[in-house]
Amino acid sequence: MAHDLPVELNDAVAVLGAFPVLAGANLTVQRGEIVLLRGPNGAGKTTLLRLCAGLIELERGHGHVLGLDLSTQRWAVRHRVGLLGHANGLYADLTVTENVAFWGRTVGASDAEIAAAVKRMGLDGRLADVQVSRLSAGQRRRTALASLVARRAELWLLDEPHAGLDATGRDELDDVLRLAARAGATIMVASHELERAGTLATRQVEVVAGQVRELGATS
């Protein structure tokens, strides 16, 4: 059976310590979708994202990400997804371009790809050579997203991406995510900011007690 969807989880169980955080989760995500993961704290949203990133083991059930088996090809999954948590994963002493170049080079990105990623996030020009320690929170977030682009991430897994951003930064981030989805990226967003993330998402699901419940498409 071919598994060519970005995400296919069937009865997925993931355990942290002895506690099953995901208890038989089912989820399918189509290419180009922006899926909002809703749910209370501790419901398993972050674990679901980390499972899809290949960072934690699939204890039971079946799971495929970008056609790769989560049970046997976790390392290969990591090459093709980008996970952005509460932290940005940037080096404060390096410039915007140096950071994006570093992450891009981990997958062998060319100079042209790196420059394109920086430009796509509106970080070219004066900002390109500014050290990350001197950037605003929104600019850092955009730098982190530019790193995902340079890494050729096909599936973006974003955990509370609006946290710590002001209104302008949030608007900029939403624009960037919509553009990325139009360019072919598939995006999963875990967020408590339902109104904002709801307008961004093309579909919403709710994670409750380790299970995923479909809430349907958004207008």
Partner: protein
Amino acid sequence: MSETRRAFASVRATARLIAVKDLRIERRGRVLTNQVLPFALIVMVMFAFALDSDAVLERVAPGLVWLATLFSTLFVIARSFAVESADGALDQLRTTGAPSAGIFLGKALALMIQLLALVAVLVLAAVVLYRADISWQGGVLLVTTAVAATCGLAAVGTLYGGLSAGAKGRETLLPLLVLPVVAPVLIGATRATESAFGTNGIAVGEGWPWLVLLVVFAVLFSVTGAIAFGSLLDE
């Protein structure tokens, strides 16, 4: 290209990328030159004040050089992993799927280069402060010793730095983990340096067997680290 050759090429490329990045961060931050090096020199001067005898200082100079190096190494390791955990970069590194052996070797290489610079300055300080004397043959032994010893220190430092990076109380955990393990480096490097300095009339030739210990240590921990680092990061 065969699968094995491709894997080695990937490890080499990752190691180079990480080492260049770490050295660039050090060049910008100047923690080694502005903080660690002055600390090491202060330790050397304090030893000179405490011992207050030229004869004693000449005798213990090799040990003091490596003790100061060891203490300073802890700061360099801590700094190396602080830049990774400050904004979650270590977690990001895991998600890139870059070979963990490459990450280990890159970080160890950057550490080793910094430690070599540190040892060079400390040996110079020993010559000035403790009046240590080095012959041409002693110089060769000293350089070889410094390379092997810093390689071992860097390998252990990277291994345990990665282990303690996400742990609570990592600042105090790191010395507890590292110092007992690197005791063979302290002993071997001190004995080899005594031969290089000609301390107590020890011949240069007597230092080479100690170098074997340092090389075995460095190889053992480099290989172990390259194999085990992925599991450590995943824990």
